[in-house]
């Protein structure tokens, strides 16, 4: 199949200073992600999943090698350029939701659009559409501390999808959820992937999440152990 490469990782190594030495989190990673993939990085703690996601999300940069996201080489981006990349093209879903506590559900979802200077009326419509998508229209005026874990994560999904990004990075999105809520949010994300063609990259060691993935990349000790294609529609 002729698929569009959206992320390309070449010989990527990431080292962190630890005391007087260094810790190598990722070793010589070579990967490609394609538009519309529903893929996941799977592995035990310390395997380098989150580090790789952070580099793809331009929150961090490689020590060696390169990560090219949407045609942009992450290590060469300025702070402003990487902020722009995140703002326009990448959505994040975090394990602990990271909702802004003083904002309402509506305002949390609206935040990314405010940064894009989208006019008020259009912004309102986009937020309402996103909330409707995740089934939280009735909770638009609630503050995050009034939401359950599942609802909080759905707000985070709405916040990530409202700007219609090419890539959504989800770091352990189901870790704090019970099984029912985990399945609910995964179904939402899967639906979004199918209907909007958004590329999802997960970091997880949750079996429930793995059940939904089209591609599972097994990481161990900072290296790709296995790149497992489950749904051939998204095969490289």
């Amino acid at each position: 199949m002729n698929q569009e490469t959206i992320i390309k990782i070449n010989n990527l190594t990431k080292r962190f200073p630890v005391g007087e030495g260094e810790f190598t989190a990722l070793k010589n990673i070579n990967l490609e992600f394609f538009k519309g993939e529903f893929s996941g990085l799977v592995g035990p703690s310390g395997s380098g999943k989150t580090t790789l996601l952070n580099i793809i999300g331009s929150l961090d940069s490689p020590t060696e090698g390169e990560a090219i996201v949407l045609g942009k080489q992450i290590s060469k981006l300025s702070h402003k350029e990487s902020a722009l990349l995140r703002n326009k093209h990448i959505g994040f879903i975090f394990q602990v939701y990271n909702l802004l506590p003083v904002y309402t559900v509506f305002e949390n979802v609206e935040f990314a659009l405010l940064l894009q200077n989208i006019p008020s009326e259009k912004r309102k419509k986009m937020v309402n559409d996103a909330l409707e998508w995740v089934g939280l229209s009735s909770m638009a005026n609630k503050k995050p501390d009034k939401l359950s874990g599942g609802e909080g994560q759905r707000v985070a999904i709405a916040r990530a999808m409202v700007k219609n990004p090419e890539i959504i990075i989800a770091d352990e999105p189901s870790a704090n959820l019970d099984a029912a809520n985990a399945h609910a949010i995964l179904k939402t994300m899967k639906q979004m992937n199918k209907e909007l063609g958004t590329t999802f990259i997960f970091s997880t060691h949750d079996e429930k999440v793995m059940g939904y993935l089209d591609r599972i990349i097994h990481l161990r000790d900072g290296m790709v152990e296995e790149d497992e294609i489950i749904n051939v529609n998204h095969a490289p």
Binding site: A83, K88, V102
Partner: protein, 385 residues
């Protein structure tokens, strides 16, 4: 910038009590600073106006030998001008004398002034409406200190032209109330024509008071001092007062700013996860620094609004009703009104607002700079950096 204001506003309102405590302290500082500055401004304006109206006129043409601060200069510090030279001027002759209230001796400055003058507020018209031999007017402070009232007679002793002591009773025809202590305490005002007659110094004056039309010209033996020259000591005093009160309100401001600084430092540490989220959602680090700086600055804007709510009615009341002070404040030796009307001008309020807002912006920016060096990955995890 608009976005930073929108977000900062939401963050501050969302922070609840912590915000309002900071705003309260800062608003109190605002009010106290403006009050003290208004108090000094009011005192300044009132004292200058009173001095001009009661003593200075547009200026004094002073005999070179006369120094109002040197009693020994009074004896010979006088002279006379021709009628042509006296245009837009009226004479005041100063002599040393003694009063004998209730048998005590009190040294006074005996001042002769024309009863026809209407430049100064001194009620000299009372001279002409009285048919007593030597009518005199004195200030309320003077009258109180020697326990005398209108209509009373009191023995006055003075030296005539030959240096010989002479004495007569003067009748107090008017007791006036003024804030200008230098025309009140230790001063006895009588008609200048009578003083010329008593001293034999016909047409002499220690100084002439000028009106606004007077054009100074070089006159030998005389020195013209404008009202600003004559008020220079008062101006110096006001400067000193401003400096000393500045210390006080800078201290107040420092306490309020310390509260903001403290909140900002805490915010940068406690809200690391939030900072990381802002960055992950697409804000640049400098935008986040800007947001935190605007947040801190906004305390001062909120304080301004809260300060207006409480301060404006208070300032309006003080400006219209004034603040009363006991008479002993006049013992300071400068014009100090028994009722002072603080003056809260637009310039005063705007400069105070500017001072507080700029200071708040600076103390907000200093801790926020740390954000620019934060690792967003660690920030997202809420790890201390």
């Amino acid at each position: 910038m608009k976005l930073a204001f929108q977000l900062a506003y939401k963050n501050l309102i969302g922070a609840g009590l912590r915000t309002w405590l900071n705003v309260g302290v800062l608003a109190l500082s605002f009010i106290i600073i403006i009050f003290f500055r208004g108090f000094l401004e009011g005192w300044n304006h009132q004292a200058i106006r009173d001095n001009i109206e009661w003593e200075l006129g547009a200026g004094h043409l002073v005999h070179n030998g006369y120094d109002p601060y040197d009693p020994f200069s009074i004896l010979d510090g006088h002279g006379r001008l021709t009628q042509e030279q006296q245009v837009d001027l009226f004479p005041v002759l100063v002599r040393q004398a003694s009063l004998y209230p209730e048998g005590r001796m009190l040294s006074v400055a005996l001042k002769g002034i024309d009863g026809q003058q209407n430049l100064l507020e001194l009620p000299t018209a009372s001279f002409t409406s009285s048919n007593t031999k030597i009518p005199a007017i004195i200030g309320k402070n003077m009258a109180t200190s020697i326990d005398i009232k209108e209509g009373d007679e009191i023995l006055l002793r003075w030296r005539d032209k030959g240096g010989t002591f002479d004495a007569a009773n003067v009748t107090i025809v008017k007791i006036f109330s003024t804030n200008v202590i230098t025309v009140d305490k230790g001063q006895v005002w009588i008609p200048i024509q009578k003083l010329w007659e008593m001293t034999g110094l016909e047409n002499h004056a220690s100084y002439y008071v000028a009106n606004e039309n007077y054009t100074p010209s070089s006159l030998e033996g005389w020195n013209y001092k404008t009202k600003d020259d004559l008020l220079s000591d008062f101006y110096k005093l006001m400067e000193m007062e401003k400096i000393s009160t500045s210390f006080m309100y800078l201290l107040l401001l420092a306490i309020a700013l310390l509260a903001i600084f403290d909140t900002q430092v805490l915010s940068v540490f406690r809200r690391q996860k939030e900072i990381g989220t802002y960055i992950a959602l697409g804000m640049t680090r400098s935008q986040v620094v800007g947001l935190f700086t605007v947040e801190g600055t906004m305390y001062s804007l909120f304080a301004m609004i809260v300060g207006c709510i409480f301060g404006l009615p208070l300032f309006w009341y003080l400006h219209t009703s004034g603040i009363s002070f006991p008479d002993f404040y006049q013992d300071m030796g400068v014009s100090f009104p028994t009722r002072l009307f603080p003056s809260f001008g637009i310039q005063l309020i705007l400069t105070t607002i500017l001072l507080v807002v700029v200071s708040a912006a600076v103390v907000s920016y200093l801790p926020a700079r740390k954000i620019a060096k934060m690792n967003p990955v660690l920030a997202l995890k809420g790890k201390m950096q």
